[in-house]
Each structure stands twice: as structure tokens, then as C-alpha cells.
Amino acid sequence: MAAMSDDSIKTEDLSFALEGRLTASNIGPIWAEAAQTLERNPDRRVVVDASRLDYVDNTGIALLFDLKRRRRPKGAEIEIQGLAPNLATLVPDDDPEDLSGAAPQAPSVGLFEQIGRATEQQITYTQRMLAFLGDCGAAFLLATRRRGVVRWSETLSVATEAGANAVPIVLLIGFLMGVIIAFEIGLVARQFGAVIFVVDGVGVAMLRELGPLMTAIVFAGRTGAAFAAQIGTQKVNEEINAILTFGLDPIHFLVLPRLLAAVLVVPLLTVFADVVGLFGGALVLVSFDIGFVQFYNHLLGAVGMNDLLVGLLKAAVFGFAIAAIGCERGLSTGAGATSVGLSATSAVVTSIVWVVVLDGLFTVLLSG
């Protein structure tokens, strides 16, 4: 065990000894005490007896260096005595500037500058997103015109993962949405004796709004994030560079299959959500004395093919937006694991914001 004995006051000099083993596990208090002793005695000569030091590790070397490099006035120097030569060679002689001082902190940025930087970032991002959407559109057009552009096997495997494997969660959420909507509207409608119109509410809400919206949100969380993380990791591992240097276009190679899969799969998932949502609503309305047959007959009058198609169109557009944002976030990933995480988070948040904005636009445009 290392120890520091402070047996001075024989002369003007202060002396202490470092003994035994100095390692990371025991050096903390010894170092702190040594530093305090030196600070309390700024104008006395200090003799450090290191002759009984058996073993030091890197932290011990750092302590010896810390003692050696201290600049003190003449007559108050620190002298290390009896340090074994093998240890002495490990303690650096010079004291370059870069070894002292606190670790550099990021310079603090004022509010004004922060706003400016954020604005600039958003403008750059919007530009990049628009350019990316342009590239995607061009790739899409090319895919419709020319054969062999689309990698269908990749598209199908993405569709399986993003679509078929998402069916259970979409069913669960769609069903619960139907139940909740029917119950909430039912409670209010019963006060006015208008329970039968709950069917209209559930029908329109599920087909036009909640079916596509909830599916899109599940899709953004499940698949948008996965796209960003997959492509982001490929970027970090330089796979994107490899694709580029083969003369291939990452948009054709990686993005197009995902866009196609999303545009195909989200409307299909929405159909599932619609059907189970309506079923959930019908189930609730049984407790409001409206039977399945009555529900069905009233539903046919309340909603039309138009409502279903509007919902599916929305779903396709949401799917495109989510896949495009996920892929774009993936492709603009920086370096390292942290940036992959940031990309995935950003993909989900941006997707959901855009889904809601697009939903609003649809409502305004199609309500006229």
C-alpha cells in the first residue's frame, strides 16, 4: 500500500515520501494530499523521497510528472530523490503547453448566433431534401419507363419486412382506434338519441383519417427509423462510397426499392387498419344496441368508395414521404454510431411532422 508521510519541519525544507505501490486504485487521495501540501507551502523547498516506491502505473507516472513540472519560485523548488532509474525514464522531462489546463470546452454560442445557425441549418436541410426528392422523382419516372431499373427482389424483401411483418401491430392499433372512437362518440351521441350516427363518425374517421394516419405513424416508427439506421450504418461503413465508386447510384440502388415498397405497402396496411377499425367500432356499438347488420347497412349509406380511395391515396403519399425522409436521413448520416442514432431519431420525428402537415393539406384540398 502506498503511503505519504509528511515528516518535515526538521529544517526549512518540507519533505514527504512516496512509498509502496502507486496505482490508479489508490493514488486519488495521495495525489490530492500532495497537491494540497504544495499549495499550502508555496515558498518552501520540497523534497520528495521516492526511494521506497516499489511500483507505479501510468497514474503514478503522471503524479511524478505533475510534481516535477510545477513552476515554483527560486528556493522553493521540488526535488524528487531516489527515484528508480527505470521509473525516471518514463517521466517526461519537458512540459509542453498542451498538457496543462482544463480540457477544451466547446465555445459557448450566443442566442442570436444560435438562431442564425439553426435557420441556416433548416434552409440547407430543406434544399437538400428538395434536391433529394427531385432525384427520387427522376428515379421513379425512369423506373416506370425503363425495364430493369428496379431491383424487385430487394423491393419485395423490404416490403415483407416493412409490410407483412407490421400487420399484427397495425391490426392491434387499428382495432383499438375503432373501439375508442366508437365509444367516445357513442357516449356523446347517446345523450342526443343519435347513436345510429356513430356509424357515420366511425366510418368517416377510420377510412379518411385514422386508418392512414395511425398506419403512417406505426410505419414511421417501425420502418422509417429502420431505413435511416440501415442506410446510415452503410454510410458509416463506407458501403455508400463503394456503391458510388462502382458507378452505381445509391438512389437507384438503395432508395428506389424502399420508396416503391413503402408506396405499395402502406395503403395495404391501411386497408387492414380500416377493416379492423370498423369491426372494433361495430363491436362497441353492440353495447349501444346497434347490431352488426344494422351497422353494416348504415355504413354503406354513410361512406362511399370515395372515402376509402382518399384514405388510400393519403396512405400512399404518407408512405412515400416516410420512406424518402428515412432514406435521406440515412444518406446524410455523419460518422460514428452516435450519428446513426441521431439519423434514426430525426427520421421518425421529421416523418411524423410531415405526415401531419400532409394530412392537413389533404383535408384542405379535398374538402372543397
Binding site: 497514474t59 527505470n86 496543462s100 480540457a103
Partner: protein, 269 residues
């Protein structure tokens, strides 16, 4: 090499003892009946062609993967049969540098090196910075302390990884391909650092590498693995293995000879 001998005297048992180890993935055996000891203050190089299980052997030694059979003792304690709490204690005796450096991406280089000190010691903050900076200087990375790992090249990541492995003062260091991807001068400096640490502090090193020049410079002993027979096919001083081994595979490796071309006689002329 007095300190190394002194250290050996204190700890009679080998730093690392691999006993009759069988390892692999699933049912696929990569290495079988592997036994060797690493004495205190010794530099042992594990070598062999690509894919023969060098890095996997290292991960078995440090307890990341359980071996299929056999045992690994670190300073006399079995890491294979240790309970989780004991295993963590044993693992803290080992300083490990992974092939890619394995720095934490969200911390700067300096914070990465300081990380083990932050977690396991009560050294003051500015003093921890000093320890970390000295370590970075040892691996010639002082200028990069405020960079993020994402901004470093492969060789720089490795060097920072070595500095982090040494931070807790572990005297058994395991390095996975430390000099691959380094320029010759930095690689030579790294070899010199390894030798100096061993000479002055009695550190023990297990180095996975296939850089021949590095092997001849630093290794006291080489342990050579063979992917075909899945055995250790040679152990000994590298220069002796090169000059005296009766095994053609060993001589071929140390003399850096290519495989024989398919026999010309089989071609139709």
C-alpha cells in the same frame, strides 16, 4: 529486465494461462486443445493467417465469449467459471484494445481515455486530464485530444484505443492488431512503447498481429494458430521458429512466402 523478473517473483502464477481450450461459434470449432501460458512481463504474439481465430481467441481469453471447453486463468483466477461480479473484477485487470479501437463515439478522444479513470478511481478531475494526456502522448495522439472518434483515421483510433486500455494501470494488456494500418514510423514507435512499458513497468502483453517486422521486434514468444488443423502448430521465439521450425507452414509464414502455384505439370500443353 530486472523489474519484470521482480514482478514474476511476486506473482508466481502466469499472467494468463490458457488450458486445453476449445472455442468456436455454434457448432463450428475454430481452435481445439489450445494450451499456453503468458508469464508476467512477457510479450506473447498470437499469429496465424486471416480467419484462423486470432481475435476470437483473444475474446475467449478476456471472457467475452465462453469457450466450448477448457479454461482460461487470469493471474490464477478462472475467467470461464467466475460468477458475473468476479468476472468483472478479473476483466478490470486486463487492458484491452479492440481491432477497431472501439472508442465511444459520443466522447472526445481525451474523454475516452479518461473514461475508465472517471468510472473506477477517485483521482481529481485536472489530474485525470493529466494522466489521460500523458497516455495520449505515449501513443503520439496528444494533438487529437479534443477530436471526436468519427474524425479520426483507423490508425489514430487504434492508438487512442491503446491509450484507453492503459488508463487504469492494468499491467496485462491485450492488443488486437495494434500496428495494422499504421505508417511504419508510428508502428515502430508503438513497438518501442510496448518494449519500454515492459522493460520499465513489467507489463505483460498479448498481441494479436501478423506484422512480421513487429513480431520480430517485440515478441518473446509467438503462438501460431492454423485454420486447417485448428490447433496451435508452433510456440517459441519468432526467430527460432523462422529458422529452425520443421513445420513448412510455420517457415512459410515467417519467411513470407506465397503458396505454391498449382503444379505446372497438370496443365495440358
Amino acid at each position: 529486465m530486472a523489474p519484470a523478473e521482480a514482478a514474476t517473483a511476486v506473482h508466481a502464477e502466469p499472467a494468463i494461462s490458457v488450458r486445453n481450450l476449445r472455442m468456436g461459434y455454434g457448432t463450428k470449432v475454430l481452435l481445439d486443445k489450445a494450451s499456453f501460458d503468458v508469464q508476467r512481463g512477457e510479450i506473447v504474439v498470437i499469429l496465424g493467417g486471416s480467419g484462423c481465430g486470432k481475435s476470437s481467441l483473444m475474446k475467449n481469453i478476456i471472457g467475452l465469449y465462453p469457450p466450448m471447453a477448457g479454461d482460461v486463468l487470469i493471474a490464477g483466477d478462472s475467467i470461464v467459471s467466475a460468477r458475473p461480479a468476479d468476472k468483472a473484477r478479473i476483466q478490470r485487470k486486463l487492458g484491452i484494445m479492440y481491432q477497431s479501437g472501439a472508442l465511444f463515439g459520443s466522447l472526445t478522444v481525451l474523454e475516452n481515455v479518461r473514461f475508465p479513470l472517471d468510472e473506477f478511481t477517485d483521482i481529481g478531475p485536472s489530474q485525470k486530464d493529466l494522466v489521460a494526456r500523458l497516455l495520449l502522448r505515449t501513443v503520439e495522439m496528444g494533438y487529437a485530444e479534443s477530436l471526436m472518434p468519427g474524425e479520426l483515421s483507423g490508425g489514430m483510433l487504434k492508438r487512442a484505443g491503446i491509450a484507453r486500455a492503459m488508463a487504469l494501470g492494468c499491467d496485462i494488456l491485450l492488443l488486437d492488431e495494434p500496428s495494422a494500418g499504421l505508417d511504419p514510423i508510428t508502428a515502430a514507435n508503438l513497438d518501442r512503447t510496448i518494449l519500454r512499458l515492459r522493460e520499465n513497468l513489467g507489463f505483460t502483453f498479448v498481441v494479436v498481429t501478423h506484422e512480421l517486422s513487429s513480431i520480430f521486434t517485440i515478441a518473446d514468444r509467438a503462438v501460431m494458430l492454423d485454420p486447417v488443423s485448428r490447433r496451435i502448430i508452433a510456440q517459441g521465439k519468432p526467430s527460432e521458429l523462422r529458422d529452425q521450425s520443421k513445420d513448412p507452414r510455420v517457415r512459410q509464414f515467417f519467411n513470407r512466402e506465397p503458396d505454391a502455384l498449382p503444379d505446372a505439370g497438370t496443365k495440358r500443353t
